[in-house]
Symmetry: C2
Subunit: 338 residues, 2 copies
């Protein structure tokens, strides 16, 4: 017997090829299929915004990682926000706005695992994909747990105009650090300094990063929050202080490599400086998301922090919009309006 179908048609982006190097349109296919019926314990979410993240590139690889790869022909994994339009789940009701792993599709039927209700009276929907969402949690816990900022210390963060980087820097400023960003292009650097309030921002496309770090970090670097890896990580390693903490959050410069990742040639600076390099994965902090969200929410309300999203419209643009991340074309947290 065939399962009864929902009257709603779901439009979804499925991963059909594992990308070699940069992901491209032909690695995906878009399908239109009737949704199954909502079962007891499930809810149906109409997806409104998708979060596009560098980490998605890793999920496309058939490799052991902190999360299983997306299976071929499955809907591409993505976080997002949307509205519940039908619920047989005890904790969620039709009309609720929720955040969770909705994946790259127009509708999502879920058992609610990992989903949370969000309150639009506190912040707009897209903020829940940014400073009140994964990037915010990543920034907050990576910085607080591994970076351990102390007032008066110098923090450097790469990807400074991006979702995680801009939040890391804003929090570090609140915590009393000297904050230096690294970003690509004058517009981003101006934004990082003038709008986000960093002390300085190095344009890695126009400046010699090593020299610029010497000028902007006269007292050396105590914390480096790394989103990019590659040559910038190596440059920072030449300027770290005794007992420096390097938070390995990502390495966007290396994700589309078809050759080996460039390891940090200057890693022995860790030895010389008795410094620490430690990786973080945001999901580990799930039990503490709420704690961070309360503090970040208060900073937003007090105008001590801003949440900037870069919104692109149309689920069908997914492959090209995702590539904006790797080309550095996004300005703030990249979200796709479905």
């Amino acid at each position: 017997m065939q399962a009864p179908k929902n009257v709603i048609t779901n439009h979804a982006a499925r991963l059909v090829m594992r990308p070699v190097g940069e992901p491209k349109r032909s690695d995906f296919t878009f399908t239109d299929e009737p949704l199954p019926l909502v079962q007891s314990g499930e809810m149906l979410v109409k997806v409104e915004y998708l979060s596009l993240d560098p980490a998605m590139r890793g999920w496309m690889n058939d490799a052991k990682s902190y999360i299983a790869p997306v299976a071929l022909n499955d809907v591409m994994r993505a976080g997002g926000v949307g509205q519940v339009i039908e619920s047989k789940h005890p904790k969620f009701a039709a009309g609720d706005y929720v955040s969770g792993m909705v994946n790259v599709q127009t509708y999502c039927i879920t058992d609610g695992k990992g989903f949370v209700k969000i309150d639009l009276s506190l912040a707009p929907l897209t903020t829940y994909l940014n400073v009140l969402g994964m990037p915010g949690m990543t920034a907050y816990w990576g910085l607080m747990d591994v970076g351990q900022p102390k007032s008066g210390e110098t923090l450097v963060v790469s990807g400074a105009a991006g979702a995680v980087g801009s939040t890391v820097g804003q929090i570090a400023k609140i915590k009393g650090c000297r904050v230096v960003g690294i970003a690509g292009g004058k517009d981003k650097c101006d934004y990082v300094v003038n709008t986000l309030g960093f002390d300085a921002c190095i344009d890695y496309k126009a400046e010699d990063v090593k020299k610029a770090l010497k000028v902007t970090c006269p007292n050396g670097i105590d914390i480096y929050f790394d989103n990019v890896g590659g040559d910038i990580l190596d440059a920072v390693l030449t300027r770290i202080n005794l007992r420096a903490r390097i938070v390995i959050c990502g390495a966007i410069s290396q994700y589309n490599n078809t050759e080996a990742v460039k390891g940090p040639a200057n890693y022995l600076s860790l030895l010389v400086n008795r410094a620490r390099m430690e990786g973080i994965v945001v999901f580990d902090y799930a039990p503490k998301y709420k704690e961070a969200a309360i503090e970040i929410g208060a900073w937003l309300a007090a105008k001590k922090m801003i949440s900037k999203e870069h919104v692109v419209e149309g689920i069908d643009t997914f492959p090209e919009t995702l590539m904006k991340l790797f080309k550095g074309e996004n300005f703030g947290k990249l979200v796709l309006k479905v």
Copy 2:
């Protein structure tokens, strides 16, 4: 007025060229000079054994590090043990045996800074250059402070037949870990397993290290104590567990590089596994040396640990004897009998 001279002639190895790649005889010159007279607050030590360490290679470079480089034409820096033959120092008397930075020479006049008395009734002189000396302190504190071994965990250590590595492994066994060494050659591996009591030892000269780690560490790697860097560090990174600790103690495979150091291409395994890579320098633990020495002394007395030294005779062999370290020709802690 010329300073009055001592009747004793000092024979010393001085660094006259900064080595490019491997240090060679022509980078040093041997001088014979009358010693100055011992001044108030000083003592004269007759050097008996010198400690030869991989770190000495770094001290020869004109580069910022955890310790100033040896100046050109200065006596080469070295730790060692010897007997006080004249003392105008309040804390040391003629006849005392001492350990400290005596440098590569037959006699040393010192203000006693960093020197400690050693007790030959507890252990032979050379043990104080090995498990009761710098290598022992490095092994103990690197392992306990950064490695943080827990019973049942798997520890891997490179340079397993060397001074630091053999001590790390023996302590980790005492702490209840599964211990796998990595060393070069069958003789060393046999020694590591049969004499030191490690659970296994990988011969990196004969085996595929990555495959051998899979076999010998079926439950993955919780602690890696790295003395070698290079490809072995990269191989280990592919097998680490969640929350693994990597102690960066040295990178002997890279010290004589004339090109850039090989950074760990697999460092993103730190991210995937939320693991930590941290450098250590033994001098940081000076206030706690005694604590470690008491525990190690008890293990030696209880025959739970052995201290093996590889003794080469003749101060004039210094350049070639030092090279044994980089060629992997030493078997146990390398010391030079003066």
